[in-house]
C-alpha cells in the first residue's frame, strides 16, 4: 500500500475515501423511497377513500344534501331516502355507550392504578381487559343479543337504543380502561405525596388532585372510544338496529330510547345492499357524512390531547 508511505499520501487517500460518491448508496436510497412509498400508501388511501366517496355521492351531496340529512328512511326510492334517523340513532347510542362505558372504565382504571397495582385481582382484571380489547366486535353483538336484549329486557325493553348502547359500551370499555390507566400512570407520584402530606384521605387525593390532573387525557381516550362506537355496525345488526323501514310513530325524543332505532353505519350497510346505482350514491354520500363525523370527533380528541398535554 503505497499511500501509507507518506503522511501526505495518507491525507490524500483519506480525503478521497471520505468523499461522498454520487450513486454509491443506491440500495440505501431505493430502500428509503420504498419506505416512503409504503407510508404514503398507508396514510394516503384515506384521501383516495374520501375522494371516491365524494365523487360517487356527489349527486346527493351537491343537490340534495338537506333533504338527505333531514328525511327518514324510505324503502320506495333512493331519492326519497334520508339519514336523519341514523344520525339521531347514532348519537343516542353513543350517549348511552358513554353513560355506561365511561364511569365503569374510568373507575376500573382507578382501581387498577391507585388501589390494586400488582395484586392478583389486578392482574386478572388487566389480562381480562387486554383480551376483551381483541374480541371481534360481532361477538359483542352476541353478548348484546343474549344478555342485553333477551335476559334483561325488563330494563332495556328489547331491541332498543339502550341495548345497542350497552353492547357498544362493553365493546369500547377496554379502550376507555387502557387510555385511563395510561393517563393515571402519567400523573407523577409527587402530586399524590403532596396531597397525602397535608392529610388528605385516599379519596380526597384522587378526586381533587389525581383525577383533575389526568382529566384531559381521560377525556381524549373517551372521545376516541365514542368515535369507535359511532362507526361500528356489526354488533348493532345483531342487537336489532333496524336495517329496513322504521318509524318512530309519534314517539317523543325520550320514548325513542326504548323504541325501534337504527344507526348511521347500519343505514350505509343497508344502502350498499340495495340493487341499483342510485342506492350506491346514497351509500357514498352517507359514507362521506360518517367519515366527516368520525374524523371530526377524532381530530377533536387528538387536538385536545396536544392542547392539554402536560409537562411535569
Amino acid at each position: 500500500m503505497s499511500v501509507l508511505t507518506t503522511p501526505a499520501g495518507i491525507a490524500t487517500g483519506a480525503a478521497d475515501a471520505l468523499r461522498r460518491r454520487p450513486g454509491a448508496d443506491v440500495a440505501g436510497s431505493a430502500f428509503k423511497w420504498l419506505l416512503i412509498g409504503a407510508t404514503v400508501f398507508a396514510t394516503g388511501f384515506l384521501a383516495v377513500l374520501l375522494a371516491v366517496m365524494i365523487v360517487d355521492g356527489w349527486e346527493v351531496l351537491s343537490g340534495n344534501l338537506w333533504h338527505f340529512l333531514t328525511h327518514g328512511f324510505s324503502q320506495r326510492s333512493a331519492a326519497e331516502a334520508g339519514v336523519w334517523q341514523g344520525i339521531l340513532g347514532s348519537l343516542q347510542v353513543a350517549l348511552v355507550t358513554g353513560l355506561f362505558a365511561v364511569p365503569t372504565g374510568v373507575a376500573t382504571a382507578i382501581y387498577l392504578v391507585e388501589y390494586a397495582q400488582g395484586s392478583r385481582f389486578a392482574r386478572i382484571v388487566e389480562l381480562n381487559i387486554r383480551n376483551l380489547a381483541g374480541v371481534p366486535s360481532i361477538v359483542y353483538g352476541l353478548l348484546g343479543l343474549a344478555v342485553f336484549v333477551q335476559t334483561i329486557d325488563g330494563f332495556t325493553k328489547g331491541k332498543t337504543v339502550i341495548a345497542g348502547g350497552m353492547t357498544l359500551a362493553a365493546m369500547v370499555l377496554p379502550i376507555v380502561v387502557i387510555t385511563s390507566v395510561e393517563a393515571l400512570k402519567a400523573v407523577p407520584d409527587s402530586l399524590r405525596e403532596a396531597a397525602y402530606g397535608v392529610g388528605a384521605t385516599k379519596w380526597e387525593v384522587l378526586s381533587r388532585q389525581v383525577l383533575p390532573a389526568a382529566l384531559s387525557t381521560i377525556l381524549t381516550g373517551t372521545v376516541l372510544a365514542l368515535a369507535r362506537a359511532l362507526g361500528e355496525a356489526a354488533p348493532l345488526i345483531l342487537v336489532g338496529a333496524a336495517t329496513g323501514f322504521m318509524s318512530f310513530g309519534d314517539a317523543n325524543v325520550f320514548e325513542t330510547f326504548t323504541g325501534p332505532y337504527t344507526a348511521l353505519p347500519v343505514l350505509i350497510f343497508n344502502f350498499a345492499r340495495q340493487p341499483g346505482a342510485d342506492w350506491g350514491v346514497n351509500a357514498a354520500a352517507a359514507s362521506v357524512i360518517i367519515l366527516v363525523l368520525v374524523l371530526a370527533v377524532n381530530g377533536l380528541a387528538i387536538y385536545l390531547r396536544n392542547r392539554f398535554e402536560k409537562q411535569w
Partner: protein, 302 residues
Amino acid sequence: MNPEKALMTDESEAPEILAPSEPHTQTRIDVSAVAAMAGQRADTETVFECGDINVYYGDFLALRDVTLDIAAHEVTAFIGPSGCGKTTFLRCFNRMNDLIEGARVDGTIHYHGVNLYQDEVDPVEVRRRVGMVFQKPNPFPKSIYDNIAYGPRLAGVKRSALDDVVEGSLTRAALWDEVKDRLKMSAYGLSGGQQQRLCIARAIAVQPDVVLMDEPCSALDPIATGRIEELIAELKTEYTIIIVTHNMQQAARISDMTAFFSVQANEMGHRTGELVEYAPTSLIFTNPDDPRTEAYITGRVG
C-alpha cells in the same frame, strides 16, 4: 385546640409560644453531657420516641433497629451516605411508608405518647399533624391560593377563614410579599425556590405540630437554599422540624441534634441502613464518638 380556633390565634400570642422554648438551651447542655444515642432525655418535651424501628421493603431489610427520641422545637438533622435509610426513616414519622407497595415498618414510634403504629391510628390524621416537605418542590397544578387552601379545606376550615390561613401561612413561609398580587395564578409560574417555600407554606397551613423535610434544598440554587435555611431557623420556634440532608454544612448550620446513619451491604449485596450516632450537632461535628461518623464528616467516606 380545634383548627379554626388555632387559626384565629393572634400573632401577638407568639411570644408565649416562644417562651417555653427558652429552657431548651439548658437541656441541650444536659443532652450533650449525656450524648446518649438512645438515652431518654429528661427535662425536654419529647415529640417522638422511636423504639427498635426496622423497615422492610418486601423481604429486604432497609433500615435496622433505630431507637431515638426527637425533642420538641428543635431541628433534628438526619445525615449519611445515600442508601443509608435516612429518607426511609423520615417517612416513618408520618406513615408515608404506608403508601409504598411492600413496605413494612416494625417497632414503635410514640408521638406524644401515642404509638403511631397501632391499628386505631389513621395515617391521614397523622399526616395532618406531621407535615412534610419533599425533595423536589411539588406544588399542585393549581393556583398559589388553592395550593395553600387545599389542606385546610380538607380539615374543615370555613371558607371565610381561608383568606387568613393563606396569608398567615405564606407570611410565615416568607413568601407573602412576593406572591400577594398573584395568588390566583398558577403555582407553576414560581421559581424553584419560591415553589419550595410554597410547599412549606402548604405544609404549615394545616397547623401541624411537626414538619418533616426530605432534602428540601437539593433541587435549589445557593441563594434559594439560604432563604429556606433562614426560614427553618424561624419555623423551629413554632414547630418541631426533622430534616434529611445530604449536605453536612447545612446540617451543621441549622440543626440542634444530628443523627448519622450508615449503610452496610450484606453478602448478597443488599444494603441495610443503621443509626451510628445521635448527638447534639455541635458535638457530632467537633468530637464524634464513632470513627465512621468522623470519616464521613471529614469527607473521607461517602
